[in-house]
């Protein structure tokens, strides 16, 4: 795939969220969650606690009881575009726009990994994941958007069906080179831009088998995933979409 679809760098990438996940084989205690949270507070001053409550409801008796309560700690920076989510099983580092490139993102999640490791010590990893969600905005032409013009991933349907109002697809693959599962989703969504349609292109790659455990191996693996992810993205779009990345529909230069 790499020769046919070389990765490119865009000045204005359409990334709406980039996420890296470190999931552990054993739980993180609430005390450990709090320690990681406190230690990362200088980078993420805002804190939200999200309680997940599981109820068991018996409709016939009209009773409900809480069977389990867990807490996710969600730390964010002042601009609310850098997120550090500490759950009882994992932590996720998320970047919302502006996405200022892989190098800056990698430095962030390496830093946060070091913070977590300083509290947890060695803890077996059960899953490493990377997910990039892109939203591509296309202008309506005569009240229509033609996905085939912009994407290589779309639903082909008989014309007798009429005009498609919305669509959503999900496909899964096993990527041998990465020993990982990849899920690609694409769906029409509302675009915030006037007279445009949004199409999500969501690439999610996760490894749960023979997961790298040493720092060097972990970050080398993430580099490999990132290169593959970029090739998948390039293979999913057409030149008409690439041309739109230099569109002048922006606020500021």
């Amino acid at each position: 795939m790499s020769a046919e679809f070389p990765a490119r760098q865009y000045r204005f990438p359409p990334i709406t969220e980039a996420v890296v996940e470190f999931r552990f084989a054993s739980p993180i205690s609430r005390d450990e969650q709090d320690q990681i949270s406190s230690k990362s507070a200088k980078y993420y001053p805002n804190l939200s606690e999200i309680s997940n409550r599981h109820f068991h409801i018996e409709v016939d008796k009209g009773t409900a009881e809480v069977t389990e309560t867990t807490t996710n700690l969600r730390r964010t920076n002042a601009d609310e575009n850098e997120i550090f989510l500490i759950t009882p099983q994992s932590f996720n580092i998320s970047q919302l726009p502006l996405y200022e490139g892989w190098v800056a993102f990698r430095q962030r999640f390496q830093r946060d990994w070091e913070i977590a490791k300083s509290i947890l010590g060695y803890r077996k990893l059960e899953r490493l994941g990377i997910r990039f969600i892109n939203r591509l905005d296309f202008p309506f032409e005569d009240d229509l958007v033609h996905p085939a013009k912009y994407l290589n991933v779309y639903i082909n349907h008989p014309t007798q069906y009429g005009v498609m109002q919305s669509s959503a697809i999900q496909t899964r693959y096993f990527v041998e080179d990465l020993n990982a599962n990849m899920t690609i989703q694409s769906a029409t969504v509302e675009s915030p831009l006037p007279k445009h349609l949004g199409i999500l292109l969501d690439i999610d790659i996760g490894r749960e088998d023979d997961v790298p455990q040493k720092d060097d191996d972990i970050f080398t693996y993430f580099e490999q995933v990132r290169l593959f992810k970029n090739q998948v993205f390039e293979a999913s779009i057409t030149d008409a979409t690439r041309e739109r990345f230099s569109s002048d529909l922006r606020l500021g230069s």
Partner: protein, 209 residues
């Protein structure tokens, strides 16, 4: 009949409702790109479809019980998160300036407790309006006592003040010198047609473009 129901406490932010839907699919996200509104609505429906309509009332009451500081924080958080759906289409310079103004406007020290908190729907109309106009000059922004965003351009003699209402509606008051005559006007209409409506007044005088 028995069944289990997983509920997320909404007290921190209504947008947290996004997380459970997509987390089933792999790497959990904390945000959902352009689908904020639709996924939020799907989750509200999901709660209802599990047969507990009171759940939504409870969630709302938790939100209303928050302190002023928590409400202001939640409003800032929602507004900044919504701005992120525009991706890199909002430059760093614009983003910094907008967020700085938001932080100033929604600071606890400056806030009059009788005023309504920023209406997210008005903020959405404002950002849509900015993409319709694409002004070279950034506006000064304010918040009306009912929570709507007001954007202002110009100077004392030639100014444009525009209130953005939910649903891509706007109301504006302007003063301008046209053909050597001083004119004032107060109008309202769709945000999507702002440029056409303002064209007779040569809006580049305010927007710089």
């Amino acid at each position: 009949m028995t069944f289990a129901l997983a509920v997320k406490d909404w007290s921190s932010s209504p947008l947290e409702f996004n997380a459970p839907l997509l987390s089933r699919m792999g790497v959990p996200t904390t945000h959902t790109a352009g689908a904020l509104a639709s996924i939020y609505n799907e989750n509200r429906h999901h709660v209802r479809s599990n047969g507990d309509t009171d759940q939504e009332t409870n969630v709302t009451s938790i939100f209303e019980r928050q302190s002023l500081a928590a409400k202001l924080y939640a409003a800032k958080q929602s507004a900044k998160q919504y701005a992120s759906v525009f991706g890199s289409r909002i430059s760093q310079e614009w983003r910094k300036n907008l967020f700085w103004q938001l932080d100033e406007l929604l600071s606890e020290e400056e806030w009059d407790e009788d005023n309504a908190i920023l209406d997210l729907e008005s903020w959405k109309s404002f950002l849509t309006g900015m993409f319709v106009i694409r002004p070279a000059k950034r506006p000064g922004i304010g918040i009306t006592e009912n929570g709507n965003v007001v954007a202002s351009w110009g100077n004392v003699s030639e100014h444009l003040d525009m209130e953005f209402r939910p649903g891509n509606e706007a109301r504006w008051v302007l003063s301008a010198i046209v053909d050597a005559q001083f004119e004032r006007s107060a109008e309202s209409g769709s945000v999507l047609r702002l440029l056409e409506r303002l064209a007779p007044y040569s809006p580049e005088r305010w927007f710089g473009c």
